[in-house]
Symmetry: C2
Subunit: 476 residues, 2 copies
Amino acid sequence: MSRETADLSEAEDRARVDAEEDLEDLALGDDYALTPEFVAMVVDAADRGDAERLRELLAALHPADVADLMGFLSSDYRDEVLLHLDPEALAEILSELDTEIREEVLETVAPATLAKALEELDSDDAADLVDDLEDDKRAAVLAAMPETERAAIESSLAYEDETAGRLMQREVVWAPQFWTVGQTIDHFRREAEDLPELFFDVYVVDPSHRPVGAVPVSHLLRSRRDAPLAQIMEPVSEIPVLMDQEEVAYIFDKYHLISAPVVEPGGRLVGQITVDDIMAVIQEESEEDILALAGVSNADRNANVLDMVKARLPWLLINTLTAAIAASVIRAFEGEILKLVTLAMLMPIVASLGGNAGTQTLAVAVRGLASKELSAVNSAQTVFREMAVGLSNGVALAAVTGVVVFLLFHDPRLSLAFGLALIVNLFVASLAGALVPLALERMGRDPAVSSSVFVTFATDFTGFFAFLGIAALILL
Amino acid sequence: MSRETADLSEAEDRARVDAEEDLEDLALGDDYALTPEFVAMVVDAADRGDAERLRELLAALHPADVADLMGFLSSDYRDEVLLHLDPEALAEILSELDTEIREEVLETVAPATLAKALEELDSDDAADLVDDLEDDKRAAVLAAMPETERAAIESSLAYEDETAGRLMQREVVWAPQFWTVGQTIDHFRREAEDLPELFFDVYVVDPSHRPVGAVPVSHLLRSRRDAPLAQIMEPVSEIPVLMDQEEVAYIFDKYHLISAPVVEPGGRLVGQITVDDIMAVIQEESEEDILALAGVSNADRNANVLDMVKARLPWLLINTLTAAIAASVIRAFEGEILKLVTLAMLMPIVASLGGNAGTQTLAVAVRGLASKELSAVNSAQTVFREMAVGLSNGVALAAVTGVVVFLLFHDPRLSLAFGLALIVNLFVASLAGALVPLALERMGRDPAVSSSVFVTFATDFTGFFAFLGIAALILL
């Protein structure tokens, strides 16, 4: 190569590196979300069939960002993007994808390609992906994998969904309790190839392979080489393999764990759970709570319209039924409404404010139960406090609105009926908002899921009945 | 000591150890929450003034569990418990306590005791505690602390609440980029005393102390001693010291980080944020979203009745106003109601179903915005999809309820008016449920906070207006 061409290609290299850095800057906004400009560039490259440009754009992104990108693309463009990923990138991106998109994408990738990609993942992530496959495809993919990886995935899938067994990875670092720090480090350095890519604790096990303690990796580094592991280890919180993932998340959060050993019923160490899996669980569980409180059956953000309708219509039908029952109270008071039609205008306000107050109490109670700050120990105290809050808010609202109603309609008895009904309904709202989730929890049901139906029914019914009933007594 | 007394005291020791283990088993239920029995034992020991028993009970608990215990006790018992904690235990328990209880507890502890306790904590946790102190007490506590710790706390407090600067700890492990693995490990072992208690990444810095990469501690262990750090280091996601904590949590979650370096505007490394702080942020932010959607201003679970009223009454007053405006529509149709009083019974059902559908869309949109799965890139697509869902659900509900209304009232025109009004209101509900949070987000407001007021107003107003208006046109 002559001097000139060398200079030229160096200049080209530098220009390419600069271009890559520019792309990275362009891809993410200040808020670390993909920019619409970058998504447009990907769509444009795909439209022009410019494979080189597409690969260049994808190379500028972290796998998590490619997964985000897939969420913004229609399925044709997704397929185009998939063509340009190597097995490792494909594996990482697949495990970052949202469930709905992932299911679509998995259908389009060939079994052999998938098998290669799965080998790159930890057993828990690989099992998650395999679980999302249709039966036929699952068999084909597993058949194309090496024996060890297949066995790890199959035993992971043998555990029920949302348990510690499904959450854990089988790749775990352990050492016998009689080893010293020096022996342990030397061993790791020799066997580096067999160690997981990243780990945070070394579990110290007894001769029956039961964890008796844990040594954070940073403690290994700072301790003297001749210190026995048994001396520097810390107590561990063992996670039973059948524990529900919500419980596991609670323990991680409470004791600030980074990783924890998972044990079989006999106490044998079988895997570990790390905090990054727990972050996903916490997000998932709190999202489930929000959506359940709002009457949405599943996280349906990336679903199609039909799935979204399926996730919402059942709750709307139930609400129709309860709203109709509550409104049937009104029928009993048609005579009163005909005598004083203003009642028809004021009654929805009483029902609506009760509903709002009930929702407030309900949200606080559901979060309290989820974080275990509300439990059998303080439930009576909480219910009494909520009742006091309900009464106080009721009296305050009655005072304010009573005056307004009087100024509008010049009828002190109407004001009185409205105010009294508000107090009654806000009291009932607090009581129902606290008792309904507590009762559901005691019955072993998820308090977020159906509470709001019951509470809204209680406040609608009470709102109409209390206001029209009191009005009938006082006014007519 | 004679043989006999030695045997006796050994037996006593063994009995004591057994008793301690029994206490630990007794303290926590299968769900890792404190048992009512254990709380009763603490109350009982405090009532009897049995200090030794109380210390024994407390010693059986992890600090996080003592913090839970405090949440279940009235303030007199809390004060009694505080008397029996050493500075280290006190420090850890204080940083585990809920804000409301913490503020109460901090008032009762003497400044000198607090100063001792704070020295035991990382700078971020210590700063959090100092921030909760009244001005007078804060000055007294800081004055009682050694210079270095005081300076660290003061510079942490100089950052605004809910920023990376407040979240970070100043204790951070770094190494120059020209060191080898062996040099680094030897250095750590020599300076073990100055290292943080626990760390996960070593940040590799350039001569201006800017992070250029990170080496996970487990990679130090498995790499050859002569490997240069610059060769094994990985790229880092730098966190600007002024970044909002919600953004920081998003980055941790997205890229599965365990720790990340925090940098000043010039790029200098000033601290680190670890994943356990982020778990707390994620819980906090999702709790804020749930409560804000339900119209509760602050997490008020452990607040007294007055604080709870303050957190809820303002939203109820705003709701009263919007409900009154929506209901004033009814006044315009009083003539129609007097002609057909059944309208009064059916109109709240239309409004209520619209409200439910709006809440569903709203919850999905707010969660989508929080996780950035909904953004400028796909907002138009999302709004159209929601409109399609609203129309579909509207038509489905109209079909079902139309038949029921006909069977009840034998009036096909009433059925038609009711069904049409439902379709209109569910369409408006979807539109408002998607557009309101998107608009608030674009205006830089928190979409969870006031969305539901606007959406409920839209569905109440539309519910009354569409039903009574259509009824007036078709029926009368």
